[in-house]
Amino acid sequence: MSKIKVVHYINQFFANIGGEEKADYPAELRVGEVVGPGMALAQKFGDEAEIIATIVCGDSYFNENLDKAKADILAMVKEQAPDIFIAGPAFNAGRYGVACGTIADAVQQELGIPAVTGMYVENPGADMFKNKVYMVSTKNSAAGMRDAVGKLAPLALKIAKGEPIGASCQEGYMPNGIRVNFFEKERGSKRAVKMLIKKLAGKPFETEYPMPTFDRVAPNPAVKDLSKATIALCTSGGIVPKGNPDHIESSNASHYGEYDITGVNDLTEETYETAHGGYDPVYANEDSDRVLPVDVLREMEANGVIGKLHNKFYTTVGNGTAVASAKAFADEYAQKLIADGVDAVIMTST
């Protein structure tokens, strides 16, 4: 079995070229050389991997000549064709961390070669890139080299081999927005009691799930003349034609339904039902207007209160459906609504 090929990126300091005064050192490829922290990595790799080349670049040079530095380094990496690219570890050195994150991300995106890096959690490069590149959490200075390499090397091997990557706390990388399941040593209630005792004592503890923050979208202008407007109905309550012909799932829906209601004035027990498994379905099955108010909107259309009830409705099941899925559905059908000349939308949820 051939060894895994690694290209390692470091800065001028770790290459022993010099300190700040040498931060303008242009990118340099050293084929067949293992430099600085690369030695520690190589030792940890043992027989499984070898560093086939080291790229050295001054932190100022990289950040001040971004396009050229990136282009040059990507060309070097492409030529070496490694199985994995490792940048750093950068500890708390800000420009170095940003450089590591930037180049690792570029290698992944533009060359399709997996990359991994490492730095201290407060390094500005961390927030910028931890969600884009696996980033090992290190101590805040090179005194933590052994600890850093101890996490970086095994993770790099796993990634290079295509093995499944465990949870952040297991593998030592910074939480990157992807939740991964794993089995703890203690049951949840025990972990909760321990966390409580720490919190009561004012001791530091780590939450297993940090609360998210939500982005906002600016509200669109109001409808000017309702009597001329086409209103569309959409729902996350899972209302579908009886029999659920498109098999929308009762939880974590994988698709949405588009159904024509031309000539339908009322949703009845014989013609419509709910596919949503997260609420008592009895009421919606008896009369789906209770979730999708077609009857009322038809009356309003007939009386001229609204111009038109759009002849299609869009439905999916909101029960445990991933936010990213729901967003993707709505992105798609919103375009259809716009193309069909709809002016406004009523979305109902259960």
């Binding site: 939500f214 982005d215 906002r216 979208v217 600016a218 509200p219 669109n220 202008p221 109001a222 409808v223 000017k224 309702l226 209103i231 959409c234 996350s236 309550g237 609420y279 008592d280 379905p281 009895v282 009421y283 919606a284 008896e286 009369d287 207007d289 209770r290 979730v291 999708l292 108010p293 009857d295 009322v296 909107l297 009356e299 309003m300 209160v305 609204i306 999916t316 729901a326 967003k327 559905f329 709505a330 992105d331 919103a334 375009q335 609504l337 716009i338 709809v342 002016d343 406004a344 939308v345 009523i346 979305m347 109902t348 949820s349 259960t350």
Partner: protein, 77 residues
């Protein structure tokens, strides 16, 4: 989904029972409804009363769609 529709450029009103979720997630026009399994209905009422209730809620939704808002707004009364 409400935010995706808003982002596409269409004014949208969210009719839902658990308005705190709608607020947290960021809908701009919100109309509170009756209950989770029957947001626009009430099985305890007779058919006509229930229809009148549904109509009232939809009317609120239309008011929401025709009202300019700058911030998240719950259309209650």
């Amino acid at each position: 989904m409400v935010k995706a529709i808003e982002a596409a450029g269409l004014p949208v009103v969210h009719m839902c029972t658990v308005t705190p979720i709608s607020m947290t997630v960021g809908a701009n026009r919100i109309v509170p409804t009756i209950a989770i399994p029957h947001p626009l209905g009430n099985p305890a009422l007779d058919k006509d009363e229930e229809y009148a209730l549904r109509k009232e809620l939809v009317e609120k939704a239309l008011v929401a769609l025709t009202t300019e808002v700058e911030d998240q707004t719950i259309f209650d009364k």
